[in-house]
Structure formats: C-alpha cells, structure tokens
Amino acid sequence: MLLDYETLKLIWWLLVGVLFIGFAVTDGMDMGVGTLLPFLGKTDDERRVIINTIGPHWDGNQVWLITAGGAIFAAWPLVYAAAFSGFYFAMLLALFGLFFRPVGFDYRSKIANKHWRNAWDWGLFIGGAVPALVFGIAFGNLLQGVPFHLDEFLRPFYSGSFLGLLNPFALLAGFISLGMLTLHGAIWLQLRTAEPIASRAKAVTKQIGLATIAAFALAGIWLATGIDGFRVVSEHIPNATPNPLTKEVVQESYAWLSNYGTYPLTLLFPILGFAGLGLGILGSIKDHPGWGLFASSLGLTGIIMTAGAAMFPFIMPSNTNPNSSLVVWDAVSSHLTLNVMFWAAMIFIPLILIYTTWTYAMMWRRITVEEIQAQDHLAY
C-alpha cells in the first residue's frame, strides 16, 4: 500500500524520533551504567555485578543506535551526509568511544588481572560517557544552526570547526544528555542489583536527576531568550519533489517557540520531560525503582521530543546560509523509498519489541555478588 508522500514525510520524522527514543531508553541506559561503573563498583565483583545487569542486552540495545543511523541514511540522506561529514571529529570521537564497549564487555573478565580489568572498566566508562556527551552536543548545535551550505549539485560544505561545536549552549545540551542517561542508568542499577550497589545507585539519583532537571530548565530559558530559531518564510507546497534549495528561511528570535504557540499540545513534551525525570527521582527515593525506570523513560522521551518539536520542521538548520537548511519536507528520500521503509519498520519494530521483551524477561533477576562468584567462568 502506498501512503501519501506528505504523510510519509511526517511519519518518518516521527519514526526517527521513535528510534532515538528507543536508543535513549535502552542503549542510553547502558551508557549511563557504563558512566557509573567505576564509581558505584568498589570491588571487582561489584563491578561485575554492574556489568552483568546489562551484559546480555547491551548489544541488542546498541542496534537502536545503529538502526537510527541507518534510518537517517535511508530516509534523510542529505542529513546523514551533511551532519556526519560536518561534525567529522565529533562523530569520530563518539565512534572511538563506542569502540570500547563490545571489546570491554567481552574481554574484561576473560583475564583475572587487576590492571587489565581496571583498564577495561575505564574503557566502558569512556564508551558510555563520551558518546552520550557527543550526541547531546550535536543536538545543542542543531538548535543553534550549523555553519554549512549546499552547492547547486547539493554537495554539502561545512565551514565551522570542531572547537566551534563546543560552545556553552552545546555543552549544556551535552550535560543534559549525559545527565538524563546517567540518571536512567542509576535507577536501572537500583532495580537490578543487590546491596550495597543498589543503595549507592539510589544515593546518586537525586543529585544527578536534580542537576539534569535544572540544566533542562536553564536550556529552555536560554533557548527561549538567547537563541535565534529559524523559520521557513516561503510558501509550503505539499507533496513537493524534495529540493532544499528552493525555500526561503530566516533566522529570528523566538522562532523555536512558535510551534508551542501554534500547537499547544506540544507543550506536553517539556512537561513530560520535567515530570518524567522528577517522578524517576521520586520512584528511586521511595524504593520503587521499577516505576522510577518507567518514569525516567518517559522523561527521556519528553526531552528528546521537546527539542524535536521546537525545531520542527527543521532537522539541520544552517546559520551561514539559512536557505540551505534541511527540513523534513525537502531533505527526504523519494516517495517509494519512504514507503518501503515505512512498511519494513511497521513489520519489524513490533517484532523487535516482542523478542527483546522476552530476552529481558528470561534474564530478569537481582544480580548479587554471590551469584557472580558462583558463576565466575560464565558471567562477564
């Protein structure tokens, strides 16, 4: 069945959002766990407990990230091209960070040597914290506009620098990303580990959570008052053949707030962000980490959608040549490709959710130091 092109363009914006949220809720959680690993695990056995809570799942979870990348390649090829090549060193930094995880998980406990294991623990820390930070920084830059333009044959040229990406607002966004994933990871550890790790995890949720909420509020105020958004001023032609060079875009104050004015329901996203993180902290403090994890998942969803809704229909605005900006209507693939991919997603995402849930159910338990010691040769 062939859906209408305009509808598919919108659906793909939502689907990329779903993949990002799937990534944050699952693999983002693993990154939070990796970030906390050296601090919450005091002994080798305790660190193994922490690692084994995500041991069977991190690889499957990571595929959300890989699939999000693949979906951007297929659905928004120009975004994939311009963002990955423009943010060249930031992307490489995230990639090199990710390198530490597959080998870290599998190789760490294969050798019983203190230095070897300690080195991999810090590797897993880097593999968690660095990508989490970089992805937030990337979002922070998208919100400010990226210095790039397209030539007449649609070749993207990036005119910024790597250090330019590390501006204060982007670092704040990076902090939010790292903070929310670390909070999420801490609640997970509270849920899945026994004492003393569970208490240690619980002890950090409040600080991390409150700092993240404060940073999210600060970013909101900053975005509303200090950062110029973008707006398409030329007429929108539905179902148009995608061409990012035919529209006219202006950069102006308060533009990122206009969607919230036009569609007040979108205000639910920032509310969900605040409430989700807040209830996540509450669930943790009141010893209901299961509910806390559910709430923090909603919190991550709210935060990601807040940024997405502020920018809509922009995906990657250009601040040096606003007309080159990439929006959901003109940076997309052809009608046929979007349709084929839509049906693939409709069939496989539910299947993935079903079998992923089964694997979590099969492995569900509180992991104790005693279990790790008993299964010394089997566990990670």
Binding site: S85, I111, E152, M363
Partner: protein, 534 residues
C-alpha cells in the same frame, strides 16, 4: 575541485577499515552455524561433550564477534563522515537495505547473542538452541542485506537518476533485492565464511590431536567442521561468483581485468595462468595461457565472447562524450532552464552522465573538457589491472589448496584414521590463515575491480567523497591506525591464549589441564597457563 590527496586518503581509509572489518565477519558467519550443529547434537543426544564444544568454540566466537561489532560501527559511520556526496547521491537506494538490515537482521543477531553467552543457566536446552539458531540466522541475514547493498554498487538496478533531486532514486525495490549480482555474491560470500570457520576449527582441533590432548573433544570438533567445510568449499567453487560477471559494464571490466585480457579474443578465450599486466602499455607481458579455459570459467560456454579491455575502453570513450552532453543539459536544467526540450535531451543522454563525471578530476565543467581530458578519463575508466590479476590468482590458489586439504581431511576422517595422518594435521594447523587470505583477496578483487566507480557507471569514486581536507584525513587515519592496531594485538592475544588452553578454559574439570592438575595435585608453573577467570 576536490583535493586529490584527500580523495586518495579517503579511499585508503575506507579500504583498510573495510578489509579489517572483513577479518572478523566471515568467521562469525560460519562459526555460528557450526555452533548450531554442535548444540543440536547436544540437544538430541544429551551428551555433555557437545555442550562443551558449543561453549568452547562459542568462547572463541565471542572474542572474534566483539571486534566484528566494533569495526562494523566504523562502516556505518564512514559513509556519512567520509563519503557524504555518495550518501546524498545514492542514499535513497543504498540506505534502504542498510536500514532494513538493522531492523530485520542485526537486531535479531545482537539481541540473541547476549543470551547465547549468558543464558546457559537460565534457559531450557531447547530455548538455548533456539537462541543460537536465531543468532546464526540473524548474522547470515545481515550478510544478505549488506550484499544487496554492495551488489547494487556493482550493478545498480532498480533505480534512476532524477535531475530535480540530483540523486539516484529507487524505482523498484524488488529489482534491488533480486539483483543477480547480489544473489551470487551472497552465496559466494557466506559459503566462503563457512569455509573460513571450518578451517579455523579444523586447524585448532588438528593441533590438539598433534599434542595428544582432549582427543575426544578434538575429533568430534574435527568431524563436524570437516563435513561442513567440505560442503561449503564445493559451494564456493561450484557456485563461484563468475556468473555475476556477465551483468553490467563494471562486471565485464572486472572480468577482463582479472584475466588481463586487453584484446577481445575469439570464443572460447584462453586463461592466463601467469603474466605481468601493464596499464601504461595496455599489454600483458610474459603471459602463459591455457586455451579455452577462461571462456569455460567465465561464460560456462564455448561460444560466448569475453570482451577485452581495449574494446571496453573504446565503448567508454563514446559514453564519456555522451556524458559531456548529459552534463551540459543537467547544468541547464539545474540552472533554471527547465524546458521540455532540455529535459528530452537530458533524458536521451542521462544513462551516460556518470561517464561524464569521470572528467571531474580534470575539468570543473565536464561539458567543456578538451580532447586531452577525454583521453585521460578513458584511461581512468578501467582499474589498475595487475593487482586484480594477482589478487584473483592468490584467491583461487588458496581456494584450491583448501579444497585439497578438506577432501583429504574428509576422506581420512570418514575412515576414522585422521589422528594418524600427522602430516595432514600439521598442514591443517598451518593453513589456518588460508581462508583469510582468500576472502581478503576476493573482497579486494570485487571492490578494487569496481574502480573508478563508487557506484558502477553512475558515480565515480573521485566525487563521492566528503568535502574534507587532507589534514582531516591524516588525523582520522592515525586514530584508526592506533585503535585498530591495539585491538588487533589484544584480540590475537586472547584468541591464541584460549585456543591453546582449549576446553580446559570451561573449568568443567574434564579436560587436559585440569586432569594434569588433578593427578599431580596442583598445577606446575611450567605446564599450567595462568588461570583465566571465565
């Protein structure tokens, strides 16, 4: 114009990271099925030794798999970071199989691999076997989609160029999936992976037999692998991907380059066993030829002609001139002169637009290329012949060597006297690198033979790159070099350590080093390896 040294470095970076990634992929593809076979025997016979086999070879599988995932991440990032124009130009077609690979296959493989390693105590026997099967099935399904994407680079079917969006767009998903080049590539590549895993298990098992260690374990592992390997090598050779060489211009050029056949010979063409191909002279010096053989291998017939490189280049020259016209009209259309006349003229020549783009390294506007530029582009329109010629022969040589070994191994194993053929066991041990030599040279033939194209007849490699600087590439290359070297050392260290330790690493108390430890009342430092924790 793009910096030529940046283009060169981008190619080096992609080629080296892809070849590096491909060190780990074939073993995963094959070993996962070997694990399924071993575990099936365990579930059916309930004999513990087969569970131990699954666990031990699974351990080595895991060490290899970790690097496969690590280096696979690079591939996903790299199209965007270093081949941005490629990503824009063909993402509409090429991106789809990659995204579907993620949704359909990679999720399956990666979700169940965690349970394969850590689920032994928590799953029933049948559930665990199911998990192992889904992991193997997922990884092989992954290969299918990746090779559909790669097959499209060699033979871009089911897509058309649109001047309005300035890119290739999918016209038929079914054609993309059923691309004959992709089909033969898939069969050839996964079967090569099965051979790789078989040779790996055989070489290590042979070593245990030579050392007289864990014989029951080694012989059973050998039996499983030699049967699987024999069937697989026959598939690689009989269903080789020669049949894919008849489709599309790129594949024809590749075939002629493999053969270093400059002039079209009357059918059936001779096969050059040895020679020194030279692109500058357009000649192969000191050639030793076997009559008829090429015609038979390449076309499986005695009367189909294999076109020579000179004739192919003459065809390319015509297409380059057409491509200049196509480029001229493309510029007019993109520049706003969107008239029915211009559209018609563009449509007439657009099949050759890619050939026009071959002029880009020499002239900003291909429509204004001089006669000299055209001749340079014609020379560029075929790859460097000698490396392909030799890589192909190395691949075939390694394949024939493995066929002989596997046949002998199969024979002596069937007669149950394999343990006595020590010379053969030594050959198996020292032949462990052979499958890797074959798959790496094979991959090289396929991809270097595709040059000068990133997408055959559509997009030259020279304009597919990102707008980066040489400086950027030097930094990223250095990063990859450092990380990949360190990872390789660590991986080899663990692989060799656990292969030497053998099934004793499972700590069941049933195997060699634990038996020694038991009988001697403790390990002696000279014979006992450091106790691993897992």
């Amino acid at each position: 114009m793009l910096d030529s040294s940046m283009i060169e470095l981008s190619r080096w970076q992609f080629a080296s990271t892809a070849l590096y990634h491909f060190l780990f992929v074939p073993l995963t593809l094959g070993l996962s099925w070997i694990l399924v076979i071993m575990e099936s025997v365990y579930v059916m016979t309930k004999r513990e030794i087969y569970r131990d086999m699954t666990k031990f070879w699974g351990k080595l599988f895991g060490i290899n798999f970790a690097l496969g995932v690590t280096t696979g991440l690079t591939m996903e990032f790299q199209f965007g970071t270093n081949w941005a124009y490629y990503s824009h130009y063909v993402g509409d077609v090429f991106g789809a199989p990659l995204a579907i690979e993620g949704l359909m296959a990679f999720f399956l493989e990666s979700t169940f691999i965690g349970l394969f390693f850590l689920g032994w105590e928590r799953l029933s026997k049948r559930q665990h076997l199911g998990v192992t099967f889904l992991m193997a099935f997922g990884s092989n399904l992954s290969a299918l989609w990746i090779l559909i994407a790669n097959g499209w680079m060699q033979n871009p079917v089911g897509a058309e160029f649109s001047f309005e969006t300035m890119r290739m767009e999918m016209t038929s998903f079914a054609e993309l999936v059923t691309n004959p080049v992709a089909q033969v590539k898939f069969v050839h590549t996964v079967a090569a992976g099965y051979v790789t895993a078989s040779m790996f298990v055989l070489g290590i098992s042979a070593w245990y037999m030579l050392k007289g260690r864990d014989l029951a374990f080694a012989k059973r592992s050998f039996s499983v692998a030699v049967g699987f390997g024999m069937a697989s090598i026959l598939s690689v050779i009989l269903l080789g991907d020669e049949s894919g060489y008849e489709v599309g211009d790129i594949q024809r050029v590749k075939l002629a380059a493999i053969e270093a056949e400059w002039e079209t010979e009357p059918a059936p063409a001779a096969f050059t066993i040895y020679g020194n191909p030279n692109n500058a002279d357009q000649e192969t010096h000191d050639a030793i030829k076997v009559p008829w053989l090429l015609g038979l291998i390449a076309t499986r017939s005695l009367d189909t002609q294999v076109k020579g490189l000179k004739e192919l280049m003459a065809e390319h020259e015509v297409r380059i001139r057409n491509g200049m016209i196509a480029y001229d009209y493309l510029e007019r259309l993109r520049g706003g002169q969107d008239t029915p006349e211009n559209r018609a003229r563009f449509e007439e020549h657009k099949a050759d637009l890619g050939y026009g783009l071959l002029l880009k390294p020499y002239v900003e506007n291909p429509a204004q290329a001089s006669e000299e530029h055209i001749q340079l582009a014609v020379k560029d329109s075929i790859p460097e012949v000698a490396p392909i010629f030799w890589a192909f022969r190395v691949m075939v040589g390694a394949g024939v060597w493995m066929l002989l070994l596997l046949a002998l191994g199969f024979y002596f194993n069937a007669k149950r006297v394999i343990q006595k053929q020590r010379w053969l066991l030594w050959l198996f041990l020292f032949s462990i690198p052979m499958p890797w030599i074959a798959v790496e040279t094979g991959w090289f033939v396929a991809e270097f033979g595709r040059q000068p194209w990133a997408i055959g007849e559509v997009l030259p490699t020279s304009i597919a790159v990102s707008s980066l600087t040489t400086h950027d590439l030097i930094i990223s290359m250095s990063g990859f070099l450092i990380f990949y070297t360190l990872l390789f050392i660590i991986e080899m260290f663990l692989m060799i350590k656990f292969a030497r330790l053998g099934p004793s690493s499972l700590h069941t108390g049933r195997y060699h080093y634990e038996q020694i430890a038991g009988s001697a009342g403790g390990m002696t430092p000279a014979t006992a390896p450091q106790k691993p924790a897992e």
